[in-house]
Symmetry: C2
Subunit: 183 residues, 2 copies
């Protein structure tokens, strides 16, 4: 890809991230993004059809980056998950998230986290499905899955909002305690 394209795309992403930390998605205008990114109006629209699509692509890029390992191993062999305990898996994931916290803060802890959380939970559901023993028995599986997934997502949001003060290991072990995961 042309360096200019990459540069413009990145400038727009950065500007958008920066703005998301300050105000709600709905109240950010395309013009503000353009000014902040210091690109031309035509350039913005040649990259992204709408503001919605910008958000969507930013989430996609982020996930492709953060979950590249998870998704890879899933694709290559279905049972790779069981080679690693849930605790290790989640810890690993939290490290990735922490490394990207400057990019994530705007998306996850702002007031516009809806779309991001939606994506996030979809991926998490895949992860947790590899660990059937995390689903409390005697409870409708869908409800149990919904519980572990959204609990983890909300724990991560809380963690980020608190500035990642706990270590990934701490948060992961606390989380497993909370969902009463058999150790």
């Amino acid at each position: 890809m042309d360096r200019r394209q990459q540069k413009s795309r990145q400038a727009i992403f950065s500007a958008f991230t920066h703005l998301l930390e300050q105000k709600h998605f709905n109240h950010i205008t395309v013009q503000e993004i353009i000014d902040e990114a210091n690109v031309g109006r035509t350039t913005f629209y040649s990259h992204f059809e709408t503001k919605d699509i910008l958000l969507k692509e930013m989430c996609s890029d982020m996930f492709a980056h953060i979950f590249s390992h998870e998704l890879h191993s899933e694709a290559s062999h279905d049972f790779s998950a069981s080679s690693q305990g849930l605790g290790e898996k989640l810890t690993h994931l939290l490290y990735h998230l922490k490394d990207n916290r400057s990019n994530l803060r705007g998306l996850l802890t702002g007031d516009s986290s809806e779309l991001f959380l939606q994506y996030f939970k979809e991926v998490l559901a895949q992860v947790f499905k590899s660990y059937p023993d995390c689903l409390t028995i005697g409870i409708p599986p869908e409800l149990a899955l919904n519980h572990v997934v959204s609990s983890f997502a909300e724990a991560v949001r809380w963690w980020m909002q608190a500035g990642c003060s706990l270590t990934p290991e701490e948060l992961a072990s606390y989380y497993l305690l909370l969902i009463a995961y058999p150790s």
Copy 2:
């Protein structure tokens, strides 16, 4: 309050609820609400300054209605909560939510649930704080509170999305199992 005001306000709320079930908040225009509610443009703006404020007031009204009992008892005497077990309290709450599910569906299960959930969790946090034994020991209290609150909110969302197929009693008891509440 003037009957005409009530009628207009209600017509706008109903129209908005109806639209929220079909499309995202961001993509609903004031004109659409006006047309659906069959009121004049001036009327809308004399009731609500902006679309954001409309959403906010609708949430407030909903909460004032659903949580009127909870908030009353809290105001009257601080230790009233302990007179009722957490299970009963949550069951009671779920009945209220179920009764209002026609109004809630658009707010809670659509793609615009962010603001509603924010309010919802604030109230839930108050409720759960009355039951300190629901917070797992050995875990930062803020994280534990965040966990029970957001878990319950997400369980309710799941429940509504599934058409309230479980009874309030079932959901409440499942939920207490999930958070390993000492019975």
